[in-house]
């Protein structure tokens, strides 16, 4: 099998790393080789975050090169645009439609582009927007945006949905199990 390259982008604090963990654990549970990598260091919230998950029979480098991703999952529209060049031509983009201001915009030093979704639609990609925050709130917790996003890409992954669901169940705690199950299902239906 060819290596399946996933890039997950978002804003620090949104749970990009937990979503990456779910996909990596699911690949392992499916008997595949997997490498997952993100750059984290600064604990502060609000910075741009990017994570890679590579799935295949044998995976060497932990890094996805621009122009080679099969799937880009973005937790925020501007971040989708920032990393859209990671997609291979015709690759798939699933993004959360709820925007978060970068600090530069919050400080009045820059303007959040009004045409982000138009630019995404114009790119050479199969793109799809999800109202992840409202789905997460319906599931019981606004923080479950990451599980909504995982749910929304399940059908595109070279992984069985039952395996992903089982992994999410295992890593969730207490009330989180129910919320995350609803978030996954809500994302899958979106």
């Amino acid at each position: 099998m060819q290596i399946y390259n996933i890039v997950i982008a978002g804003v620090g604090g949104q749970g990009v790393l937990m979503a990456s963990k779910v996909l990596a654990e699911s690949a392992l549970a499916s008997g595949m080789d997997v490498k997952q990598n993100e750059v984290h260091g600064m604990a502060q919230r609000g910075g741009s975050v990017i994570s890679f998950v590579r799935i295949g029979e044998q995976v060497n480098s932990p890094v996805v090169m621009p122009g080679t991703a099969d799937l880009l999952i973005s937790f925020e529209p501007l971040e989708a645009l920032r990393y859209i060049h990671y997609l291979k031509p015709g690759g798939r983009l699933v993004y959360n439609k709820v925007s978060i201001n970068p600090s530069t915009v919050a400080a009045g030093l820059a303007v959040y582009p009004q045409d982000v979704e138009e630019q995404i639609a114009a790119a050479d990609a199969k793109s799809h927007g999800v109202e992840a925050l409202s789905i997460a709130r319906e599931a019981g917790n606004g923080k479950a945006v990451n599980m909504v996003m995982v749910g929304s890409v399940m059908k595109h992954l070279p992984l069985k949905e039952e395996i992903i669901t089982e992994v999410v169940k295992q890593i969730s705690k207490g009330k989180g199990v129910e919320v995350n199950m609803k978030a996954l299902a809500g994302g899958a239906a979106a």
Binding site: Q36, R45, S61, M65, A106, G108
Partner: protein, 588 residues
């Protein structure tokens, strides 16, 4: 059982499974999680030291007392620990001793881009360089065996893409710790010149023996394929090489110091073209060229700065695959910022307003240097805020400039290296305002415990060191408290500190809201009262933004992000910002 874990987790697990007894380190990206994971093992003793020198010295003691010991730190931490390391190499060890060091090529979260392989050469110690999580796990055990067999400390080096990349690991058998005897051996452990002279001779002889070992150990392996191109590489660069050149022959070095000269000659002789792929410095290349071996592609085509990847290797070989995808231009940047309701925000709002020279330090507060605050004017290394401010004040006095510098330092950095700087300021009649942001945690690296936290790495309640009495004991008379959430009070306190001659210390004791999960009701903007003057935006909070439409843009607070500190509301002259009673919407 198979696990998918990061290089850091693998090293922690490897330590537990290799009979590890004692671990000590100081947080530093990308090394931090290693010691946190050792703590999670539950059955191995570990602790945070106040700095890397103390950490390494403590594990030297652990080794002398007979327990396999591990010290963890980031690359710049080794600079702090180097004094111990450069003599530890003379004494050697009793039980095995590993110094794990994490480099950060690309400077994802560091102030410089240091190649720690230089330290292995400098200290004449063996160094292992894993290329994935499995090797990181395996090399802990191999490292202890080498350390004990050759009576040497061993450096285990990772880079960000090893420490933080997750891969599949199959753990080996767990060894039960065996603690050796605690032996008095004066010529071995007392480095007086007479003993040291003999030890230096032993170190040189040891290096020759390690060279012989390097020739035969499976840690260095040749993967013969097409003989047209041969590549010598190590660490994560090996993975990029496999990706970029699937048909090339490879000499993969696991033991990267000392180098196996015969093996390298044999490999170079068996391929037509020789390439060396190493991140950062030309350490292999310089040594291999010194052997008189022809290197066709090395640092003449590959960068000395930043990370290497498959595309860069292909380009160096002249095999670039057409147009490389380029990012969309002109998008607003999204740099990390102070968390919503972080206490640093109020402090830097005032420092920015007062336009003083701020001598900064390493921590979350370093972000005060970025726009729109722009209120930090030098950052060098841990502790330099205080000592550099002292030097500035001395030269200012000689120049007749009547301006007092301000040093800003966090609690963990103060414990690490700020105490001695302040001691010097007291002793040498200095003249600076020192602001200690004591949030009771090591924030930038994710909220690790420190001597001011009142709890140890393993969660045991302990003495909480108070900073004010410590500062007074160092010889500073003027010590006052600060509440950076109150802008007026903060401005007055800083002005008083600047006007009072001599050393003056302000201590803010507001805890880290992220580490201690402090939540407050969000702020709401009254759109009637808001005039769109943008005064509040100066606090640089990601919860704030301008409304997109309307005649005049007004400010809006994102209730999903706001954590209700109210610093922005204190900037408002039109009574437009208030807390939403009883609500708490913060979800970031």
């Amino acid at each position: 059982m198979k696990k998918i874990i990061s290089g850091n987790e693998a090293i922690a697990l490897g330590f537990g499974d290799s009979g590890g007894v004692f671990a000590s380190g100081y947080p530093g990206t990308p090394s931090t999680e290693t010691l946190e994971e050792v703590a999670r093992l539950g059955d191995v003793y570990c602790e945070w030291a106040p700095n890397e020198k103390v950490a390494l010295e403590s594990v030297i003691g652990g080794s002398i007392a007979g327990g396999r010991s591990l010290s963890t730190m980031k690359h710049v931490g080794v600079n702090v620990a180097a004094d111990a390391l450069l003599t530890l190499t003379y004494t050697g060890v009793n039980a095995g001793l590993i110094l794990m060091v994490s480099d950060d090529p690309g400077m994802h979260s560091s102030q410089n881009e240091q190649d720690s392989r230089n330290y292995a050469k400098f200290a004449k110690v063996p160094m292992l360089d894993p290329s994935d999580s499995q090797e990181a796990y395996d090399m802990v055990r191999a490292g202890f065996e080498i350390s004990e067999e050759f009576d040497t400390p061993l450096m285990l080096r990772t880079t960000t893409r090893i420490s933080h990349a997750k891969g599949v690991v199959v753990p080996g058998e767990k060894i039960t710790p065996k603690i050796g005897e605690w032996v008095k051996d004066v010529p071995k452990y007392v480095m007086l010149p007479n003993f040291g002279k003999l030890k230096h001779i032993e170190v040189e002889a040891r290096l020759l023996k390690l060279q012989e070992f390097a020739e035969t150990t499976p840690l260095n392996r040749i993967e013969m394929a097409d003989t047209e191109l041969g590549i010598i590489t190590s660490g994560v660069a090996y993975q990029h090489v496999r990706e970029a050149c699937p048909n090339a022959s490879i000499l993969k070095l696991g033991l990267v110091h000392p180098l196996p000269e015969q093996k390298i000659r044999e490999f170079a002789g068996s391929v037509k073209r020789l390439m060396i792929v190493e991140e950062m410095d030309a350490i292999f290349e310089e040594q291999i060229r010194a052997m008189g071996i022809d290197v066709e592609i090395g640092k003449n085509k590959l960068p000395l700065c930043g990370e290497i990847n498959a595309d860069i290797i292909r380009a160096a070989l002249g095999e670039s695959e057409g147009v490389v995808a380029t990012p969309v231009e002109g998008l607003p940047q999204r740099p990390p910022v102070f968390c919503p309701s972080c206490a640093h925000r109020g402090l830097f709002t005032i420092l920015s307003k007062l336009k003083v020279f701020v001598s900064g330090d390493i921590g979350c507060y370093t972000l005060g240097a970025l726009p729109p605050m722009g209120a930090m004017h030098s950052v060098i290394d841990m502790g330099a805020s205080i000592s550099a401010a002292h030097g500035m004040a001395k030269v200012n006095a000689i120049a007749g400039r009547d301006e007092k510098p301000v040093a800003v330092i966090g609690d963990s950095t103060f414990f690490h290296s700020g105490i001695t700087g302040l001691l010097s300021m007291a002793y040498n009649a200095g003249n600076a305002l020192v602001i200690i942001m004591d949030n009771r945690t090591t924030g930038m690296t994710g909220g690790q415990e420190n001597p001011g936290s009142g709890v140890t790495l393993q969660g045991v309640p302990t003495r909480q060191v108070e900073i004010a009495p410590l500062v007074k004991a160092l010889g500073i008379d003027n010590v006052a408290e600060l509440n950076a959430y109150d802008l007026k009070e903060t401005e007055a306190a800083i002005k008083k500190g600047l006007e009072t001659p001599g050393p003056y210390v302000l201590i803010d004791k507001n805890p880290c809201i992220l580490r201690y999960k402090i939540r407050k009701p969000a702020i709401k903007v009254d759109q009637e009262n808001c005039t769109g003057c943008r005064a509040c935006l100066k606090v640089a909070c990601m919860a704030l933004g301008l409304t997109a439409s309307g005649d005049k843009q007004k400010v809006r607070v994102d209730p999903n992000v706001c954590n209700g500190c109210g610093v922005c509301a204190q900037m408002c002259k039109f009574d437009a910002m208030h807390a939403i009673e009883g609500e708490n919407n913060a979800n970031l």
